[in-house]
């Protein structure tokens, strides 16, 4: 009996062990390195969405799927998909400090609103403005690396379900970063997204294939595996052709894959361009000093297979699983950790800063970036265009300096840990309703209908906006308030909330109208161009831009055009104190002289005292010796 029980227990344990092993994904071929820093040559077959190898003679030719081609046997897709660039939708992922949002804008409707699927304070989820994943991809897929929202499976109730089936999912585009071939064309990728050719976009951008046609033009019943003749000869179904020379005799293709992603790949999504009338061209603006010194973006922004990329900010270490989270910060490279078991500073030959003459309180009150990053602050903020916000790098991007959205920079804000740091800032403008004292944005379609219902012959364009005179604003609010069943409407813009009270348009400050800001980490300027390099007066003067510069208010409302707010309004300190403190620096040289004068006079007194003391001591010794 006892033996039988032991046998049974053994069998149960063994089966449990097998089941556990089956649940744990086994590492794939490329998941674990052997330590070699050489790059494996990627001469591999192209696999379609079904995992079947593609040959140049296939009929019809289908696009290769990165999920299959890269991940079927070599790199665990689900592990990679948990990485920073793909996990915005994952409620379990840590959003970290606020970052660059997507910005939805409509110049005619007076809308400029920061969006993100991440839970950053001050941003709205696209759902909140009625933007479905389909529309999100169409609008922002141009600068998305695929995955995440691109692979969301919308339910059968979705209006776009059939369109998703026609266009396919937007899988993670591994090549967007890892393809070192100069043919990699992310602009083409953006074009294909616009044409709704989601499943074709990666192949079309890779330089291995050419695309024609558009899924957008195809009916809901279109099946790319059985492309029937389309009735209208003007409509071209999405058709892919591979380069005839791309395949070797074994029907494999060569991908120029690199681990050390070139800066230019990062730049496609992470470029920013200062709108500066003195330096209107990108060649006249310097790039980050680290890049000039020879570093690459990925030297600091590193990750392993899970793509949990180091973002590089000081507080990241508290939440990141990346072991390099601390040493990849400014302090990590330049100073190291004081109590570390071995020296950590000096990575990448980072110089240890001297900061001669800087009282240590500066390091408690300021982040490194406050003095070293972003544009040199001027009397007024500048505007910056970014790839994500302005679609830089894609065909037909708006090159006008006034193109929406309007991002102001640098704005000095108390960020992580209360330290002052430079931020980009966007003033939200949107239409909303008070729902139980909460401000809830009104879907764009409702606003569009309200605008169409009023005639605005006096509409004037200024600085990228169709201006909104207060009469028009009142009229729109009246239209939105027409249905008494709907909560009270309001318009948020320029840091204020505008609403009608007893037939009058009134505005007031409101937390919901607060601007959204996110830290500027680049471009880092050299030490000689950092705040304080010319002396204390860079910051401690009554007109120092850091505290007393103007932040432009951006709004389509006519009465708010050309208004500004002081930088100090965004800081946890008093402007009066800063003014007083700055004034002391005018007297500082005199004060130093005065103290030095006092010290010299006291020194003279002390010298006389010591002389007399010595004299009397010697006299006493002499007297004592004489007695003896």
């Amino acid at each position: 009996m006892r033996t039988w029980l032991f046998d049974l227990a053994f069998v149960v344990l063994l089966s449990q062990a097998f089941l556990a092993q089956a649940d744990t994904p086994q590492p794939l071929l490329g998941d674990e390195g052997d330590g070699s820093r050489a790059i494996p040559v990627h001469r591999i077959p192209l696999l379609d969405e079904g995992g079947i190898a593609i040959t140049p003679d296939d009929e019809p030719l289908v696009p290769f799927s990165p999920r299959q081609t890269c991940a079927k046997e070599c790199h665990s897709y689900s592990t990679i998909a948990s990485g920073w660039h793909f996990n915005a939708l994952d409620a379990e992922s840590n959003p970290g400090r606020p970052g660059h949002p997507w910005i939805y804008w409509d110049a005619r409707l007076g809308i400029q609103i920061p969006l993100s699927y991440r839970a950053w304070p001050g941003v709205f989820s696209p759902d909140e403005i009625g933007m479905q994943p389909w529309e999100f991809i169409l609008r922002y897929g141009r600068h998305l690396p695929g995955g995440g929202i691109g692979e969301i499976e919308e339910g059968p109730q979705s209006e776009k379900l059939l369109r998703w089936m026609v266009s396919g999912q937007l899988e993670i585009n591994c090549l967007a970063c890892h393809n070192a071939a100069p043919e990699q064309d992310q602009s083409e990728y953006a074009t294909q997204i616009g044409l709704e050719n989601f499943r074709w976009a990666t192949a079309a951008a890779s330089g291995l294939a050419f695309m024609e046609g558009s899924a957008r033009a195809m009916p809901d019943t279109y099946d790319y595996l059985m492309p029937d003749e389309v009735g209208d000869p003007k409509l071209t179904p999405p058709t892919i052709q591979y380069q005839s020379t791309g395949f070797d005799p074994k029907n494999r293709v060569f991908f120029n894959i690199t681990r050390t992603v070139p800066n230019e790949r990062c730049y496609f999504c992470h470029s920013s361009f200062q709108i500066d009338s003195d330096h209107p061209e990108k060649w006249s603006q310097d790039q980050d000093i680290h890049l000039t010194a020879g570093l690459r973006c990925v030297d600091c922004h590193r990750h392993g297979l899970d793509h949990t990329m180091v973002r590089g900010y000081a507080g990241e270490v508290q939440s990141s699983t990346n072991p390099l989270a601390f040493v990849s910060t400014c302090e990590g490279c330049h100073l190291g950790q004081g109590n570390a078991a071995f020296p950590q500073h000096g990575r990448f030959a980072a110089p240890v800063p001297q900061h001669a003459g800087f009282p240590p309180i500066h390091f408690e009150k300021l982040s490194c970036t406050a003095c070293h990053a972003g544009p040199w602050p001027g009397e007024s903020t500048q505007q910056v265009k970014t790839a994500m916000a302005h679609g830089l790098g894609i065909k037909n991007s708006d090159k006008s300096p006034s193109a929406l959205p309007h991002i102001m920079t640098p704005v000095f804000v108390n960020g992580d840990g209360g330290k002052l740091e430079p931020h980009h800032l966007v003033w939200p403008s949107y239409w909303a309703r008070f729902v139980e004292e909460e401000i809830v944005p009104i879907p764009t379609e409702t606003i569009r209908a309200a605008f169409e219902s009023i005639t605005s012959s006096t509409a004037e364009w200024q600085d990228g906006w169709q201006t909104l005179p207060e009469e028009t604003l009142s009229a729109i609010l009246s239209v939105l308030a027409a249905d008494p069943a709907e909560p009270r409407p309001a318009y948020i813009s320029g840091g204020k909330i505008w609403q009608q009270e007893q037939g009058q348009l009134v505005s007031q400050e409101h937390p919901a109208a607060a601007p959204y800001t996110w830290p500027v980490a680049h471009n880092v300027r050299p030490a000689a161009q950092s705040l304080g390099a010319r002396g204390c007066e860079d910051c401690h003067s009554v007109d120092a831009p850091l505290f007393f510069g103007d932040v432009q208010v951006d709004s389509p409302i006519l009465s708010l055009r050309d208004t500004t707010v002081n930088q100090v309004a965004f800081q946890d300190t008093s402007g009066t104190y800063l003014n007083l403190f700055a004034l002391t620096f005018a007297f500082r040289p005199l004060f130093k002289l005065f103290l030095q004068g006092c010290t010299i006079l006291l020194l003279m007194l002390a010298a006389v005292f010591l002389f007399k003391l010595t004299e009397s001591a010697l006299a006493w010794i002499q007297k004592t010796m004489d007695r003896q």
């Binding site: 005065f594 103290l595 006092c598 006291l602 005292f609 003391l613």
Partner: protein, 151 residues
Amino acid sequence: MALQTWTLFVVSSVTFLLFFTGFIIPLFSGAPLTHVALLLHLALGGLLAAALVFLGFLLGGDYLPPYRQPAEGDLHAWLRLGIRFCFWVMLLLALPLLSTVTLSMNPWIRTGLMPTLLLAHQVTAFLFSLALVGFVTLFFLSKTRNEETES
């Protein structure tokens, strides 16, 4: 005598305020000296420096050596010696007290040295305050005793 008393009053009250802004406020707030307290501390520091120089020249001549060893039981002589000792200790401590501030305002001082200067400033400030308390106490004891003797 009135001038001496007034000067001592200024030095004492300014030192008290400096002690309050420099030690008590940071102790209770847990933060380094900043904002209005810092401005007040700096302004009062200048005033103290001037008052100390004035006091030094006012009393220094009288308090210079040589000193006689007080006779046993001559409390008045001991008091006078104590006053002189505290006076010169105070003035000697004022030198590092002021120079740590003037040095830290110079851009050629490395940031790493600044916490050391601050510590030196705090230590000398504390000792200076003790010496001043001793000086003022002995000064007024001596003055009271003189008045009692005269009456």
